[in-house]
Symmetry: C2
Amino acid sequence: MADFSTYFTMSEADAIEYAKGKLDLFPKGARLSCREIGDGNLNFVFRVVDEDSGQSIIIKQAGPVARISDEFKVSPDRNRIEYEILKVHNELAPGLAPRVYHYDPVMNCTVMDDLSDHVIMRKAMIEHRQFPLFADHITTFMANTLLLTSDVVMNHKEKKVLQGKFINPDLCEITEDLVYTEPFYDCPRNDVFPPTRDFARKLLWEDEKVLLETAKLKFDFMTHGQSLIHGDLHTGSIFVREDSTKVIDGEFAFYGPAGYDVGNVLANLIFAYVNARQTMEEGPEKERHIGWVLKTIEEVADLFQEKFMRLFHERATERVARYPGFDKWYLAGIMRDTSAVTGLELARRTLGIAHVKDITSIADEAKRAEAERICLIAAKTFILERDAIAKGKDYLQVIRDSEARASA
Amino acid sequence: MADFSTYFTMSEADAIEYAKGKLDLFPKGARLSCREIGDGNLNFVFRVVDEDSGQSIIIKQAGPVARISDEFKVSPDRNRIEYEILKVHNELAPGLAPRVYHYDPVMNCTVMDDLSDHVIMRKAMIEHRQFPLFADHITTFMANTLLLTSDVVMNHKEKKVLQGKFINPDLCEITEDLVYTEPFYDCPRNDVFPPTRDFARKLLWEDEKVLLETAKLKFDFMTHGQSLIHGDLHTGSIFVREDSTKVIDGEFAFYGPAGYDVGNVLANLIFAYVNARQTMEEGPEKERHIGWVLKTIEEVADLFQEKFMRLFHERATERVARYPGFDKWYLAGIMRDTSAVTGLELARRTLGIAHVKDITSIADEAKRAEAERICLIAAKTFILERDAIAKGKDYLQVIRDSEARASA
């Protein structure tokens, strides 16, 4: 048997040995097979299957160095973070995250439910599939995890201890650089679609008002320990089935602004919308699909607020949080951050190093360029006008206005 | 020799043995004497003197339970925090904090400079003594410690690690309760001077606008990890000599809003002013002293901003902090918090459990009641109008207006 007492990056065969020797999840003598199915940047993902029963699990191992590029070296501690956050998510939003069975601090791996009967949502959205329960599921997930880890509800001392466990310097640095900094100047590490470059320069890089707002927002991200956020809640971190939603990839988790998660979901739904708008053939199917995506955007913003407020009134323990007017002020702050982060995510996925397939898969160059203009115009509006954007209909209005301006 | 391998609270004799056996600060065979000189709530303070050379040191030991009251039990980890913060202060503001020689995590004690040639500033202010260099010293201390530990200057990853070291649940809870919560309702733990009770009720407790602002500020205190703050920077935590200022008692340190420290200094200078106003005999000496205190208040606000801004431009490493307009926005936020905290400290020291001698030593009941009205009216203004209060002259104006309203 392999020696799992010091870290090494596992092969598929090692993962089988690991499952047999270190886990108690399969019957003795089970015939196990394994495939590495990771497509991500930071981890190896081993799917281990019992060939007889079909039962399967995932072993997710942090590589010694992030695969995203040689420039980003992130500590393998991120797998501990992911394990800890999965436990939190299972407790606060049961059914909306994979169950987690084991964490190994030496091999830096976590063992969890296999979700092979689900698909990554981004992929499904590019295939223009619909998930009618998604808005309901994801807003429950966000309202629960964001409110119940905040000082509104949690014992303040326990919250501080939890915050200490989720100090996450390496992964936060990635976000600080890739989301809040590089997309807003002509950074060599950006990956700008050539037809978009001049537009981006005029719209964003040369606008000091935009730059100043991104700076304020970056400091808010670095200093506002409001909720234990997922920190990377885009459609590539969500597994879906028609009847099920599972949030994964929580290695970016830390105590940050609650609106960061909500804004990420909304921005990535907007990417899905723009993809459908630019690539589907005109006709009732397109109408139906686009209608569903837009309704989902609207519902994510509105249901989140409804559920958050309801839960706030049910669960607030902090005396001063019950002072008249505090609830509205608190939620308004989260929605302001949500709008800003929607804008940041739209901009950074269009201009920065890490693109989304929703946009890059638009084969027609003019259509892709138009899609990027829509996203960037919307980005600027979401950032600059964040005080006035909160409701679902506000989001739809920004999308419509951006479309009009992008083709003007 | 006593067994220092498990914690016990030391006697004076134990402290001598400790100095002889565990420290290398006195010559072999020195004749040491010791007196416990603590007047504080949380610690035992042993002054150990070499009878021959006169050389002396302080051994500060955390008691197993805070002495403040049986209700507040704070972990002895606060002595580690104090040691760590003294190292930071010595590095960032050399000469403005006692040097620190030793920390013992078992006995929970810290060994540092003896400052017996200094006096506690609050005591000196009640004696109406003047310290012409104080404003210069304390603003250097605050500008340096608050800016240089922030994300404007510090490497963001190192800052997060430092923030983790200073997670301080027990001491933060004391502040959250005693400063941000209890003074703003008729809490049984408050200690309200009877002639002040009705005034406090009408002015503060029944004003929902005030309550809502205190709630927002409490959440800012709990979630805004801006700078490594001292956390208890009143005149009882500052040793002074005509030519020297030393900040002590850093056990409340954590990453919080920078304005918290500046506001504490200002509020406690206002207490000193009100004490002089109410207790000194009319005449040129009073004029002179009051003139100096008011000038010091003005200078603390203005010199802090000057030095902070200069240091910002010299030392900012964060790219986005150099965007046009960011410096002003950032400092304006600190000054807004400063005003609010000035108000909170004025209110809590007047109504809450922990009073200041500047006020309680005013023997004449009517004069004390007037003093408290001045402090509470100013408190409300500093909280509600914090957006418009930043400059030294703004502080003086609030004081003058509050005096006029208190006697109207």
